[in-house]
């Protein structure tokens, strides 16, 4: 089964990422992402790149969009390009096809996240590390946090996206629905916090702020990871129950 999942991942990356347009455009796109997030931003940031919490937010959201682009295409793209029915006539099991599609999106998004992370470290060290005479690295907790939470978030988007793509008539439709979903996930908590904060008195806000700044970053990360893990399990479970080839709209 792992071999078959890899077969789909391989086909998906080739078909949807590498050969989506001209090969030159594809390479240019990927190179541009690496250049901006792996070279330009770290160069500007300097040593702060590895020390600042805030700078993490300048690049860690990247996989959200890469994953959603690929996963929107997963089933809607096969339907649009008239290959879905033939794929379903093969001996590949429902589960293999589903996991293959999810794994492809995760590998792409997560792969780019790792590449950007490595590239940025190379960049800051080549310029600022040499200048300051020390090795610039993310702290262990940041590294683990990005690697673990990055993987869990990618998986979550992939699992939700695959279900949207199953139902969507076109890739475009799936992409729009998924982008809206991601925006909602990102904005709604922020909105709730902002509105909630307004309802509190100054003293209460002050107290809340103090409490928040006393929180242990590692504990917060661990709790977030746990919540994400549960969400992942739930959504992958739902996707598994939903995906039955005999219930799919073929045309």
């Amino acid at each position: 089964m792992l071999g078959d999942i890899w077969l789909i991942v391989n086909k998906e990356v080739r078909e949807v990422v590498l050969r989506a347009g001209s090969s030159r455009a594809t390479i240019l796109n990927l190179a541009l992402i690496l250049l901006v997030f792996g070279v330009v931003l770290p160069l500007q940031a300097g040593a702060a790149w590895v020390d600042s919490w805030w700078l993490l937010f300048s690049w860690t959201w990247l996989p959200l969009f890469l994953v959603s682009a690929l996963v929107a295409d997963s089933f809607a793209g096969e339907r649009e390009r008239h290959t879905l029915e033939t794929l379903l006539t093969t001996a590949l099991s429902d589960r293999t096809i589903l996991f293959g599609k999810i794994a492809a999106a995760v590998s792409y998004g997560y792969g780019m996240l790792l590449s950007v992370m490595l590239m940025s470290l190379l960049t800051v060290n080549a310029v600022w590390g040499v200048r300051e005479g020390r090795l610039l690295l993310f702290s262990t907790s940041v590294t683990v946090g990005v690697l673990v939470i990055g993987l869990l978030v990618t998986l979550l988007i992939a699992a939700i996206g695959v279900m949207i793509s199953l139902k969507a008539k076109t890739v475009r439709q799936a992409g729009q629905a998924l982008s809206l979903g991601i925006l909602a996930i990102l904005w709604i908590p922020g909105l709730i916090i902002a509105l909630g904060a307004r309802a509190l008195s100054e003293a209460q806000q002050q107290a809340l702020w103090e409490w928040a700044s006393m929180l242990d970053g590692r504990a917060v990360a661990a709790v977030s990871a746990l919540v994400l893990l549960v969400l992942d399990a739930v959504f992958v479970g739902i996707a598994m129950r939903r995906f039955k080839r005999s219930r799919l709209s073929l045309d």
């Binding site: 086909k11 050969r19 290959t83 033939t86 379903l88 006539t89 093969t90 099991s93 799919l248 073929l250």
Partner: protein, 324 residues
């Protein structure tokens, strides 16, 4: 007794607004080419989808190569190759990448796929072009590649849903040639959907005619033709008068007789004896130059069948498959 490749009983599929397949009972022996004939919307594609487990039946049951199509659909698909209405090729991949993908998906090892690709693409004149992106190919080439793709894992059962649809006559004829070559190869059983009658006559050992989801005829193409098809008689000669034609028209086994540009044309029932008619013409002083007989094409028989079913509002009795 020949073994049975496909057997269905009471197979039915309802969609919200239409019953696409209606109480279908079919038995297709192994190792033959079976043609499933029917006009647009008659339920051919839905039947194949049910057999491959892509659509659930509303009622009834079926087996393909002995596997139940609901509970053992994975086994059915593993043993089958399919070319559905759409060629289903990945146009952004090369021909070879496509065959590799589908070969691996069928559980083949990469090392076994390479020689099989050569074996299949060679006779189709596509082997040299296997490195090209499929999206750049002509429709005819894609369709030939799609047949190769369906056969890559040497399936024992092959489903073809209107394989020559949308091809120009030359490309269609070429594909038919290729199908004949490829399909006769390893004793594979072929289930081919078509409304192209000449195709069915040329390729099929057995045909079933479906209309509005119901099977209305089943048998060897000649039998299906013979059962509804009329026999024709055409006589060229001097001295055929209108009176004589009227006399022949009145004979019991002659359905109709007309005079057309000095020639006699008559539609006969199966029981009519041509020598008797010829003798009558000679007796009446006709100078006969040529006597031609013919039967309807399967196409005409097919149309007659569909019309007959329309008029009678019922199915034409189905031949007992066991009788073969």
């Amino acid at each position: 007794m020949t073994s049975i490749a496909i057997s269905t009983s009471g197979l039915t599929r309802d969609f919200p607004s239409v019953r696409a397949v209606d109480d279908l009972a079919l038995e297709v022996p192994a190792g033959i080419v079976f043609g499933f004939l029917g006009p647009n919307g008659s339920g051919k594609t839905t039947t194949v989808r049910i057999l491959l487990g892509l659509v659930e039946p509303s009622a009834g049951s079926a087996t393909v190569l002995g596997h139940d199509i609901v509970n053992e659909a994975d086994a059915v698909r593993a043993a089958s190759g399919a070319l559905m209405e759409q060629a289903g090729l990945y146009e952004r991949l090369t021909a070879e990448e496509n065959l590799l993908f589908f070969g691996r998906a069928a559980g083949m090892r990469s090392a076994d796929i390479a020689p099989r690709v050569r074996e299949l693409l060679g006779p189709l004149d596509l082997y040299e072009r296997r490195g090209e992106l499929v999206g750049t190919w002509s429709r005819g080439m894609k369709q030939r590649l799609a047949v190769a793709r369906a056969l890559i894992h040497r399936p024992r059962m092959l489903f073809l849903d209107e394989p020559t649809a949308g091809l120009d006559p030359i490309a269609a004829a070429e594909l038919r040639d290729d199908l004949e070559k490829l399909v006769r190869e390893d004793g594979v059983t072929v289930f081919i959907n078509t409304h192209h009658l000449a195709e069915a006559e040329r390729l099929c050992d057995l045909v079933g005619v479906i209309r509005r989801g119901r099977l209305i005829a089943f048998g060897h193409p000649d039998e299906v033709r013979g059962r509804v098809g009329k026999r024709r008689l055409e006589v060229v000669g001097a001295g055929i008068s209108n009176e004589l034609v009227a006399e022949i028209d009145a004979l019991s086994h002659v359905q109709s007789a007309v005079l057309d540009k000095g020639r006699l044309r008559a539609d006969l029932t199966q029981a009519a004896r041509i020598p008797d008619i010829v003798r009558l013409l000679v007796d009446r002083g006709v100078d006969i130059e040529e006597v031609r007989r013919g039967s309807e094409s399967l196409e005409e028989a097919f149309l007659a069948l569909l019309e007959g079913a329309d008029e009678a509002g019922l199915e034409i009795a189905q031949e007992d498959p066991d009788a073969r």
